[in-house]
């Protein structure tokens, strides 16, 4: 008795397990011959949702044939349906001779003679039917046949292409990605008109069935990297994907690091540039933020504008960004370390004025800095959440109440306010939000180190960070390329940017094959005639 009971229990558990993932998968139900049965089933399966439109006609093509036109309101383009489908079905009269065996041939007539629509496919199961209508297509079912046809009618309301909000530039294209995957792929395709730009599709999310597209240039991107990315995407088993951030956390190389091993961009030109360097873009339906992999730390300091401006200013700006990053990470901790442990480092006059300011401040420098930094982080977060209309209030509260009043009340020193303000501004210089976020987090760690061990603590922290960075990889590519491992030809586009005519090669360590960018160095020079004229 007992073993039997046990085995039964086990088997029922197993069944339960098997059923769970398929909970949202459409069962393979073949369409019925009777239209009423089909329509009833669709209504049952969608819970009679109001946006699933089922339009029944009792007479089509001038014959007494029962037809149902099914589509999803909002996804399908009503104009296409009215003009090309319903008009054809109701107004056109079928020839007299074609009345012989209506139900079986009607579908063929509709498909081959009467439907003024480009893409038409046959369907025979409920799964196909739902896939079609949920993609915005229109399904036509005819009474008497167990088949149907789906006509492409996707459209509906969509947001147009706007200027990106997060990565604005002075010079460069003004377009940004939207929430629609097809629009996004077309924005990239329009920039790279080459059949070697390949797109691999995946559907991720058991419930949401979100489309994910992987884009790369076959022949430039490293095959290993592409395979690795697809492998990691296939491994994902989650119920929903609402933004590319979901995917990012699943496929990044290291979770416990403040540094991003994938970056994202809203700019089609930045993505196209990355793809042309041999990187791989991952687009997720419903998100204007496209992921790029693999990346290196120096890429995070580059803006797409660097390539549109003159090389000298671009190089200068890149160095400025790196300096600003270091400031936003280290400035408060340096202040703490110097004022607490190493006063001898300051010139005497500066030391005296600092000491005079700090005289009335009741807290140690670390507490002072921590309080100001946390205040700033709160202000910043409030600024994001706050409705636009009260936005100006926050700057008054922040600048006057928390800055000036705090100094006058003797709670913090004026130098501290300057330090925190500059740190905050420097944090906004990084073109990549994920990079400035990592500086934001590390700042607090360094402040703690500086408060306990002074400069030695900061140096030790930097060394630990460097070891961590040297060990980090993004899809097999070392994070500190091209400084470590060093690559002489990649220096042309890392810390500095050389003029375009001298950028002979693509980054060599990312795309190992097909690295040639220019045929030869094409330094512009005045033609010989002009030179002679000048002489």
């Amino acid at each position: 008795m007992r073993p039997f009971f046990k085995s039964k229990q086990g088997s029922s558990q197993q069944q339960g397990k098997n059923e769970q993932p398929s909970e949202f998968n459409m069962p393979e139900i073949i369409l019925s011959k009777y239209l009423d049965v089909n329509v009833q089933m669709i209504k049952e399966m969608t819970g009679d949702s109001s946006d699933i439109i089922i339009r029944r006609l009792d007479q089509a093509l001038g014959k007494p044939i029962h037809v149902a036109v099914i589509y999803t309101d909002g996804l399908a383009d009503e104009q296409i349906i009215n003009n090309s489908i319903l008009k054809s079905l109701t107004q056109i009269q079928a020839d007299a001779d074609s009345s012989l065996d209506p139900p079986k041939q009607v579908l063929g007539w509709i498909k081959h003679r009467f439907l003024a629509i480009g893409q038409v496919t046959d369907i025979d199961t409920m799964k196909n039917l739902f896939d079609a209508i949920l993609a915005g297509n229109t399904v036509i079912l005819v009474d008497g046949t167990a088949k149907g046809i789906s006509a492409s009618s996707a459209g509906g309301e969509q947001r147009g292409v706007d200027e990106p909000q997060s990565q604005t530039v002075i010079r460069g294209p003004r377009e940004g990605f939207t929430e629609n995957l097809r629009v996004n792929t077309s924005l990239i395709r329009r920039k790279i008109k080459n059949p070697n730009l390949w797109i691999v599709d995946r559907t991720i999310g058991r419930v949401t069935q979100t489309d994910v597209a992987v884009m790369y240039i076959h022949g430039i991107a490293s095959d290993d990297v592409v395979q690795e990315i697809l492998k990691r995407l296939d491994r994902i088993d989650i119920d929903s994907v609402l933004e590319s951030g979901y995917i990012e956390e699943f496929i990044q190389d290291a979770t416990f690091t403040p540094f991003p091993t994938l970056t994202n961009s809203e700019r089609p030109d930045a993505i196209a540039g990355a793809i042309l360097e041999g990187k791989v873009a991952i687009l997720v339906d419903g998100s204007p933020f496209v992921l790029i992999a693999p990346i290196t730390i120096f890429k995070l300091f580059q803006s797409s504008e660097d390539y549109y401006q003159k090389f000298d200013i671009a190089t200068f700006l890149r160095l400025m960004r790196i300096i600003a990053f270091v400031f936003s990470m280290l400035l408060p901790s340096m202040y703490i370390a110097i004022t607490t442990f190493h006063q001898q480092m300051l010139p005497t006059t500066l030391l005296i004025s600092l000491a005079a300011q700090r005289e009335g401040v009741p807290f140690p420098a670390f507490v002072e800095a921590l309080a100001m930094e946390i205040t700033f982080e709160v202000l910043r977060e409030a600024g994001v959440r706050m409705p636009r209309a009260i936005g100006s209030a926050i700057s008054i509260v922040g600048a006057l109440v928390l800055g000036q009043a705090a100094v006058q009340a003797g709670l913090v020193s004026a130098a501290m306010v300057i330090i925190v303000a500059f740190t905050a501004i420097a944090g906004f210089v990084a073109p990549s939000v994920s990079l400035s976020n990592s500086a934001r987090l590390l700042r607090f760690g360094f402040m703690l180190l500086a408060a306990t061990l002074g400069l030695f603590g900061i140096i030790a922290g930097l060394m630990a960070m460097l070891i961590h960075l040297a060990g980090l990889r993004s899809f097999g590519i070392p994070y500190l390329i091209p400084l470590a491992p060093f690559s002489p030809s990649d220096q042309k586009d890392a810390l500095v940017r050389v003029p375009w005519w001298a950028m002979l090669k693509r980054p060599t360590l990312i795309s190992k094959k097909n690295i040639k960018r220019l045929k030869s160095i094409q330094k512009p020079s005045p033609s010989k005639d002009e030179q002679e004229q000048e002489q």
Partner: protein, 368 residues
């Protein structure tokens, strides 16, 4: 297997040899001829480097410990391997203690020495934990900044007008002998002979064709850099002051004063020295870990912890910094280190050469 490329090797050799050396005045016993001591020691050290390279060339895919066991037999090989593990640990500990004390004396007098040294050991352990490749990459990244830093200090020395070239005179006051006696074996053993630890790393180089060229190039580069800093200290502080100063570099840097703004640059030099110390202590630490992993087959992580704990423990051996440097300069450099840097490698090279000669002879006799 972990692979390193040529830039990584160059960076490693340069930063390793720089190490703590600029902090001290090498060959100060020869007074104003200290710079000649550096030249002599550098050339003598070059011969040693050639010996090490000769050993490596004969055994391309083996590291020091594998070579020792291959050529000296199992029992003697194991004994020498253990000796080298202790030597590397001891060298690593010397650097740890040195920098811990420098920080303690000049920067953080109230922080316990044990905490400072613990942090340093933990950082090195972290680098080794991540693997040889990552450690070499870290060093490669540090090289440009370090060279730039030293170059900046050099420029500031010149601009601040503290250099008095007449302090080098008279040259060779007491003949050449004091110079040579200072150079051999003292200055050979520190820093030039310490290259012996590279026998444990060279096998990881991905293209061994350039090994000798790269090693000799980086060696000479550092030799010249050390010579320049030796000269700077001599001309800025004068031999008399140098002979009674523990850390001459810190003292001469304090003399820099430019435009009432650039002064008190000791933190900069401490940072540069820390980079050198980190590289050196980690390299020796790694050498000991590699050696121990040859003897005991347990995981790399466990070995890192064991060796790290050992180095940390022995770093408390000296009661104070003065004793620590005194032991180093009078005992270790004269009697202990030459065993590992000169005598064992020479013996090993002799064995390798003999074996090669014999095998060639055997081949020839078999052939005829």
């Amino acid at each position: 297997m972990q692979k390193i490329d040529k830039y990584e090797l160059i960076a490693m050799m340069i930063l390793f040899l720089i190490g703590t050396t600029p902090l001290y005045e090498l060959g100060v016993g020869a007074k104003q001829d200290a710079w000649l001591v550096v030249i002599v020691a550098m050339l003598a050290g070059l011969l040693l480097l050639l010996v090490y390279l000769f050993i490596q060339k004969g055994n391309e895919d083996r590291n020091l410990f594998e070579i020792l066991n291959q050529h000296l037999g199992r029992i003697l090989g194991t004994i020498v391997t253990v000796a080298y593990i202790f030597y590397f640990s001891y060298e690593s500990m010397r650097n740890t203690r040195e920098f811990g004390d420098i920080i303690n004396i000049s920067f953080l007098p109230k922080t316990p020495l044990s905490l400072l040294m613990l942090i340093m050991i933990l950082l090195s352990a972290y680098a080794i934990f991540k693997g040889t490749e990552v450690f070499f990459r870290v060093v490669e990244f540090l090289l440009p900044f370090t060279i730039f830093g030293y170059f900046l200090i050099f420029l500031m020395f010149i601009v601040s007008k503290n250099i008095h070239l007449e302090r080098l005179q008279p040259v060779l006051e007491h003949g050449i002998m004091p110079v040579i006696r200072e150079a051999i074996p003292k200055v050979i053993s520190f820093p030039f002979g310490e290259v012996v630890v590279f026998l444990a790393f060279w096998k990881h180089l991905n293209n061994k064709k350039n090994l000798s060229k790269l090693s000799i190039f980086s060696y000479l580069f550092v030799g010249i850099l050390l010579l320049i800093f030796n000269l700077l200290n001599l001309t800025i502080l004068s031999p008399q002051i140098l002979s009674i100063t523990t850390l001459p570099m810190l003292r001469s840097v304090r003399l820099i004063e430019i435009a009432d703004f650039l002064e008190r640059l000791d933190p900069v030099i401490i940072l540069l020295i820390y980079i050198g110390i980190f590289v050196k202590m980690t390299a020796f630490y790694l050498g000991a870990v590699i050696g121990l992993s040859y003897l005991i087959k347990i995981s790399h992580k466990k070995l890192t912890i064991i060796v790290g704990a050992f180095i940390y423990t022995i770093s408390f051996a000296a009661p104070n910094f003065i004793y620590h440097t005194w032991i180093g300069f009078t005992r270790n450099l004269m009697y202990d280190f030459p065993v590992f840097q000169i005598w064992i490698p020479l013996g090993l090279a002799a064995v390798v050469m003999m074996k090669r000669l014999f095998s060639r002879k055997r081949k020839r006799t078999r052939g005829t």
